[in-house]
Symmetry: C2
Subunit: 373 residues, 2 copies
């Protein structure tokens, strides 16, 4: 494994929609030349979207790089946080795109975490029925959200319910940006990285376990390798099932309960990674009910705790509200509950026969145990 | 050519996204059995969308037919008119879909004209990133809008700017519904039918000319044949270029000026067909400037007048506002103006070299002549 300054590259293999992921230091200031190399039309304006935390830190560098390569750039800023994944913010960005004169050959850049990626991506998917899209992730969590083309905004009643599949042209992952990430978001991001180990790759899950401290300290080589491996698992799964007809659903490990917790917390109190961390513990407990043993849940919980992630439902949450939010989730299929259930570390299965009562029991347990150590 | 009671059928050929168009009398009450035949899952609720004019007339028949085939149906109603092609109406329909428990295997039905088709189609395209969609056109204009998968809503600054490509599973065109269509909408719908002749099929254009009276009187056989031929042209063009990379743009004849007029009239005063009727006269005048002779414009104008369609810009419209609305139109590409320009009846070309001044001159002319007979 080479040093931290290296650029790691991989390809998401989707036929004519294939695209590269570049992971490394110093990529922001190469944006303009990378656009030019790839033939992005210089006459068509670019919309650069960031949130209020990221804009001041990094958008200037990207804008400058694009301008020096001859591109005209309009910047748009949305408030930081999950609440910006709304139709209202979507509409504002469409207005910005129109005012900046974006045409059919223009590009929308998402510079930020999963919120900006999902939101700006849905703008790119819908503006003039779809224009170019570039992901520039600035959070650890976004190693997951920036790959695979799922873009969406939330509805008051359900998360990610309004969206599209719209693959980016390229993913530019500048590791330097992660230095400013708040520690809580660092931990939240690792929840999705651990998920990629749990669903697909036991040795990667073990590697995460062994390198937890280096990862939490953002040690460059560990960080680069972890993000690379996470993106690799994601892109293998997405390449085999772009539109989530079957296999891709395994990426939803922990998300049925997780999304419900996010909805009940009104998209604010729990971060996405925190919510799915709790959800993954719930799924591992389902596995126990299906006879895969209690060890899996204990092991999953230990790993998540090691990364400082929550593994219990905050006590104030209402069980009925959580259960009803799950009914609106996409994973609720024709009356019976569908869950991704782990079989062992590195392997999961999709089960459509999960009794609602089991889920309710586990939700209750995870709340009750919240008070205890 | 057989009698009016016959069901005409054609296929839009798009590989695995191919779908049939059925045109004839009495289809509404066959909806349920057609759904069952085609394997639409009976456990997943259906959302039936209509506007306030159509809902009371026809939605009951469709709902009953679906229910007797075992489907559960939720109905949603939007106000009649172009103003419903908005993000606000879109959001309301998503709420209705969530409240009705639509899942990934559910279907959205658009029962109505182009407004409901475009709006409900964008809901189907975006809900859970895309679910089944069925078009049940009830206007003449919708022979155009229901075929080809373009769905969209408007933005205050530009028409159809927010949308997707989302093909229906089937188009069910019940000719009985057209009997209640207001005469002005009958005429407006024929503008798109004439367009299909003008861009592709001289003999169809001549046939429309010869059969104008029978068409305006909704004589069943003429109506069935005209709609069939219009859909046929549309589906040939769409099959060859689904995503509008090149050929499909010819369907925009008259739409650059037309969309601008609609925007300036705040989506209300001019109907879509009326606006593009005026736009087609404008395009024919551009043809004259490119040296294709004055005859084409005179001939185009005569044909449209025969169908009672407007061929001049209402006097009060502001030229600057029209010109600026065109800049936001999708047909404005990288700084130069792109127009579909007729060469002769039945053939057009796409030109990217149209001087803005020519367009402005024609807009001015069409306004000045409005006062005259
Ligand atoms: N599309 C997908 O496939 C997919 C996959 C996983 C998650 N998601 C979505 O991703 C979202 C969560 O993403 P997230 O955790 O990145 O959230 P986020 O985008 O809100 O970013 C987290 C926080 O960090 C701040 N921030 C971002 N980059 C920073 C930086 N470099 N320096 C300082 N601060 C920075 C942001 O302002 C925000 O406050 C959720 O909405 C989730 O649904 C989508
Ligand atoms: N997607 C496409 O490819 C495409 C193509 C052409 C036009 N369009 C869009 O289509 C729209 C225009 O469509 P339209 O002209 O059908 O408008 P519309 O849907 O508003 O219908 C016209 C009027 O007729 C009423 N109506 C509809 N069916 C009726 C019936 N059977 N009996 C009585 N009243 C009835 C409606 O309430 C409305 O008032 C525009 O928004 C245009 O942009 C889209
Ligand atoms: Zn996630
Ligand atoms: Zn039209």
């Amino acid at each position: 494994m080479a040093g931290g300054a290296e650029i790691r590259e991989l390809t998401v293999d989707l036929g004519e929609r294939s695209y590269p992921i570049l992971i490394g230091a110093g990529l922001l200031k190469r944006t303009g030349s990378l656009f030019a190399e790839r033939g992005f039309p210089v006459k068509s304006p670019v919309l650069l979207v960031a949130d209020s935390a990221v804009d001041g830190l990094y958008a200037g560098t990207v804008e400058e790089s694009l301008k020096s390569a001859g591109y005209s750039v309009a910047r748009a800023v949305v408030p930081s946080g999950e609440k910006s994944k709304s139709l209202a913010a979507f509409e504002e960005l469409v207005t910005a795109a129109l005012e900046a004169g974006l045409d059919r050959r223009s590009t929308v850049i998402a510079l930020g975490g999963g919120v900006v990626g999902d939101l700006a991506g849905f703008v790119a998917a819908s503006y003039m029925r779809g224009i170019r899209f570039v992901q520039m992730p600035t959070t650890i969590l976004a190693h997951d959200s920036s790959v695979g083309g799922k873009v969406a905004v939330n509805h008051r009643l359900a998360k990610n319910i309004i969206g599209a599949f719209h693959q980016p042209e390229i993913v530019l992952y500048d590791l330097d940006t992660l230095k400013s990430l708040p520690p809580r978001d660092v931990r939240s991001g690792y929840a999705e990285m651990i998920k990629h180990g749990l669903i697909w790759d036991e040795s990667f899950a073990r590697w995460c376990d062994e390198n937890a401290e280096r990862l939490l300290a953002l040690e460059p080589d560990a960080l680069g390798r972890g993000l690379y491996e996470g993106c690799r698992v994601k892109s293998i799964v997405v390449s085999r099932d772009e539109k989530e007809n079957d296999l891709r659903a395994i990426l939803n490990l922990g998300h049925t309960i997780g999304h419900a917790l996010e909805a009940v917390s009104h998209y604010g109190e729990l971060l996405h990674g925190e919510a799915i961390s709790i959800g993954m513990v719930g799924s591992a407990r389902l596995a126990a009910k299906f006879g895969y043993g209690d060890e899996l849940a204990a092991e999953t919980e230990r790993l998540l705790r090691k990364f400082g992630l929550p593994v219990r439902i905050p006590a104030g949450y209402d069980t009925d509200a959580i259960m009803s939010a799950m009914q609106h989730d996409k994973k609720f299929k024709e009356g019976s509950m569908v869950f991704v259930v782990p079989k062992r570390i590195g392997e999961v299965e999709i089960r459509g026969d999960v009794p609602v009562q089991w889920v309710r029991d586990i939700v209750e347990q995870l709340k009750e145990e919240a008070g205890k150590p």
